[in-house]
């Protein structure tokens, strides 16, 4: 759980970094180029298999863990301590994970499926033809219900990370008098900032916001 979790946290970081191109002027070209690189580089493609494996493993482990843990107490309490002794989101990782999974399926259908199996227009940069994923984003994020679904997805992700980040460290045994508080703060910052950045993307697209910059290139 913890290992795959940390792996997925690293993925989120990369994903967030690449996609952050869309916030800026020149974002369209930068983003499409980056996406092209991610979509065609052989190493990245191999890593993608790893990523899928990571997701699937994390999901299977998660459900197995939840089911097995639930089976350990056949006779339930009439009254529970609720939030007095633990946070609701630490107890709701399976629920939050399920919400994220639902979101993930929608998300894959929106972007990953067409980029792999066709259905996207192409654009030409310096004579090189690349898929116009940016255009796809514009399309997808023009619908209100999609915006709401994405916002909910990011919201679930934030709570999931809020527990998952520090929990992964605890499970790996990386607990230290001095550094654990630091890890906890890092976890909180990560859990708020990363989902927030993701959440801003559909909003930027929908409202047509952009951050003006000169010749900024985030990647490549």
């Amino acid at each position: 759980m913890a290992l795959t979790g940390i792996f997925l946290i690293v993925f989120l970081l990369v994903h967030c970094y690449v996609n952050a191109n869309v916030f800026f002027s020149h974002g369209e070209e930068n983003f499409n180029r980056a996406a092209h690189f991610m979509g065609t580089n052989i190493l990245v493609r191999i890593a993608e298999i790893g990523l899928f494996a990571g997701f699937i493993l994390h999901i299977i482990q998660g459900y197995k863990l939840e089911l097995s843990n639930r089976a350990k107490r056949s006779s339930k309490y009439a009254v529970t301590a609720g939030n007095k002794t633990s946070t609701w989101y630490s107890r709701s990782m399976a629920l939050l994970g399920t919400l994220i999974l639902l979101f993930l399926i929608i998300h894959l259908v929106h972007f990953w499926v067409p980029s792999r199996f066709g259905g996207l227009t192409e654009v030409n940069y310096d004579g090189k033809s690349v898929l116009n994923l940016y255009g796809r984003m514009k399309d997808v994020f023009s619908q209100e219900w999609v915006i709401i679904v994405y916002l909910l997805g990011c919201f679930s992700l934030a709570w999931h990370l809020l527990h998952g980040f520090q929990s992964a460290f605890q499970t790996m045994g990386w607990n230290h008098k001095k550094y654990t508080p630091l890890i906890h703060s890092m976890g909180v910052v990560f859990s708020v900032v990363v989902p927030l950045i993701f959440a801003l993307m559909p909003l930027f697209m929908y409202f047509g916001w952009e951050i003006p910059v000169g010749e900024l290139t985030l990647l490549f």
């Binding site: 843990n69 309490y77 009439a78 009254v79 529970t80 301590a81 633990s86 990782m93 929990s167 045994g173």
Partner: protein
């Protein structure tokens, strides 16, 4: 401190034996002094039940000074009741107000089967200790007590872990019925001392293995155990167990 008397409604789990179907019974108790301990309040109810020809409530208790780990009970959803760092026997009725309804249940976990009413079987803990919760030294084998100096911080941390009373509140509090806090406290207690170091790799593997066999759940780090532990054992110990366990699984010689 102002003393006061109170009338209470108690909803208590009654179960004839391990295999019987259990359920809640409701009782009224009157004129309970705020100076009574929680168990003394149950004593009052039991005396009343016996007097009326009923069957008193069976519950585990012994030292009544917070150290033997016998008393259990989940009071309004809280193992050992609402006070922090306190066993049920040390919980006093000052914690409650006149007219309150209190729900009293046994520790619930499949690994702690109910024997009668609020009494549960915690032998699984003994079997986990048997699996490796000791230092293999026969009587008479010891060197002088001061032969091996021990870093004071290590000794203090070891002591803090060793103050676990084995009551099982961690299991009762955990949504997964995990025994990680109990097992990790013992692993830490012994691993932190030079005397316990030679066996630490086999110990942690054997104890975790036995814990799984006993049917306790897995830890998902909600830390409800730490919040409910009457001896306030830290979840730092769980991290230490995880570390020791990982190290043990990479140990090629074992």
């Amino acid at each position: 401190m102002q003393h006061y008397n109170m009338d209470l409604t108690l909803k208590v789990w009654r179960q004839q034996n391990r295999n019987a179907q259990g359920g809640f019974e409701t009782y009224q108790v009157k004129d309970i002094s705020s100076e009574m301990s929680f168990l003394e309040m149950i004593d009052v109810l039991n005396e009343k039940l016996i007097h009326e020809g009923g069957d008193p409530i069976a519950f585990d208790h012994d030292c009544r000074e917070g150290i033997c780990g016998t008393c259990s009970m989940v009071i309004d959803g809280r193992p050992h009741g609402p006070w922090k760092g306190t066993t049920t026997c040390q919980l006093h009725m000052r914690a409650f107000k006149n007219g309150e309804t209190i729900v009293i249940e046994p520790f619930r976990a499949n690994s702690f089967p109910v024997l009668k009413d609020l009494v549960v079987d915690r032998k699984a803990f003994d079997r986990i200790i048997q699996a490796g919760g000791f230092i293999s030294v026969n009587t008479g084998n010891a060197v002088d007590g001061n032969a091996i100096p021990i870093d004071k911080d290590d000794a203090d941390n070891s002591f803090a872990a060793a103050s676990c009373i084995g009551c099982g509140a961690c299991v009762a509090a955990c949504k997964n019925s995990s025994a990680m806090l109990f097992v990790s406290a013992k692993v830490s207690h012994l691993a932190l001392l030079p005397q316990g170091a030679p066996e630490k790799s086999t110990r942690v593997a054997a104890m975790v293995d036995q814990m799984d066999k006993e049917g306790f759940g897995s830890c998902t780090n909600t830390y409800a155990c730490e919040a409910e532990c009457p001896k306030e054992i830290s979840v730092m110990n769980i991290a230490r167990l995880n570390r020791e366990y990982l190290a043990s699984s990479f140990n090629a010689d074992k």
